[in-house]
Amino acid sequence: MIKQKPSAKTTLIAFLYLSPMLIIIGTFYLYPIVMSFAMSFYTKYNFYTNKVSEVGLSNFVTIWTDPDFIEALKNTIIFVVGVVPLSVIIALVIAILLNKINFAAGFFKTVYFLPFVTSTVAISLIWQWIYNSQYGLLDAFLGIFGIKPIDWLNDPHWAMTALIIMTIWQGLGFNIILFLAGLSNIDKRYEQVAQIDGANTWQRFRYITIPLLSPMTFLVSVTSIISGFKVFDQIFVLFGGNPGPGKSTLTLVFYLYEKFYTEWKYGIAAAAGVVLFTLTLIITVIQVWYSKRHVHYV
């Protein structure tokens, strides 16, 4: 490459090359982000005339005193805590098993990946039937063990569990594929050396596979947590457009959606969005900090 000193002209050319992407990102990501931040401070606002008559912090005060918002926050955290660890562990176990078998591994990979490429609406509709308290497969299965039928979708105590189970199942395929990629990146020699060094199967898993897989585990956890905070469409379809029985699956995004589209309280919706953004940011920062100490990029 010829090394050129950047001048006004070359910089302009560079921007021209970048402009298609910059325009799209600017229009559909940056502008809305900035605007929704601004909107969260609009306390008197006419959406149709785009006229702001008052700004202040009262939107934030409102949501913090809204029991629905607190409920949504609590539900979101329960959802993330319920989904992410289980999803990561199950995906890891299945990936390791798939990595060990040669027979029909491709077939199983496809099967596990199918839910990920299927529309959430279709999946949720199927699960509605699985969860059905009278004809549902799940209750029929549990009945074998003498467990009484549970009304998964209408009992406020079980709705969240139902949602968590479905979400784990849906995301499994993608996480498995990621883990499989991570596993195939680990040099087989380390296993061999560890075996000679006297490590049994469990020790090889614990001291070799897990640490060497940590970048992938980290990636899977981060993406799962972030998508967990954004959960919406599964709830919407599974509970027929409602936030679950007795608002038992009301999450942050669902709250935001209700405020925006059904109650037209744009400022409050934006404020909820800012809280969601801040939460995601804090968690990402914690993860980056954690990864510096415990993730081994090789």
Partner: protein, 354 residues
Amino acid sequence: MDVKFENVSLAYEHKNEVLHDLRFVIPKGKLTCLLGPSGCGKSTTLNLISGLLQPTAGKIFFGEQDVTKKDALARKVGMVFQNYALYPHMTVLENICFPLKMKKIDKKKRNERGENLARLVHVENELTKYPGELSGGQQQRVAIARALAKEPSILLLDEPLSNLDARLRVEMREEIRRIQKQTGVTTVFVTHDQDEAMHISDYIMVLDNGQIQQFADPNTIYDYPDNLFVASFIGNPVINKIPFSILRQDFSPIIPMTINEKAETLLIRAESIVPIRDHQEHLGVKLQGKVVSVQRYGHEMFVRLDVQGQELMVTGFKERDLLEKQQILEFTLRTNGVFIANSDKEVIWNATSV
């Protein structure tokens, strides 16, 4: 512990035998090299010793114990791989101590052992570093220390020096030699580099086509090769090979009739072609050739000599011999490094016997 192979063969499925009926004893406390070109079966032999591979036939003994059916762990071998295979997520000390940790030796004790080993291989100042921060030579040292940590019955090194640059390679082979002598552990070293094998080993096993060509100490291998393959594989520059018929007349007076009849190839080491004035230990032959080229590299001088249409590489002449191109040169042969092979490629006559 010595290693004994009894009629060991190995065949992979649907393929020809890789190793044929190997029998040998690797002596206890010595450094033995498995030497041969790539594909000769030396790494396979090493894997059979380690237990990573199981033979199709035959038995393997460590000392008196039959270990044929035992795996690498039960055989207690220590192994160093070509690319070291250090655990990238562990520090140097953790790497060295890993086998001890697997044995559940308590932390204080194993760190102490680890530090001692680090001192033995001279990496005591790198203990908290990760393998990625070390040079190739240092990684090699750590890999050796890790292999030694569990006090192996046998230390196996699979082409350990081939990833190092030339100078480091010479340094590390001295180091391996020192460490081996200091610990007295029976060591098997795989290499395709004859020079490395000559410098480092107590014994060399030359392998080709899955068969042992010769098993002896380095100087015996050099001075008394059993066959054409060993003679030409060992030594640099490569031994001169010419049809015996060309010099039959000159050799007839000094070799027995029986040998003369079967002689097919004449083998002469480059340094064994010397000026006539060097009076001691000559064969009683006086030969002539024409100087084709003279090249000097530092203290070495390489002369190409045309002898009745056959080109010979000669290193027995010195600068003071003032050779010139096209010059007709009279020379003789030393009693070391001249062999005759028969049509089966076996060495049937060695000039030292004169």
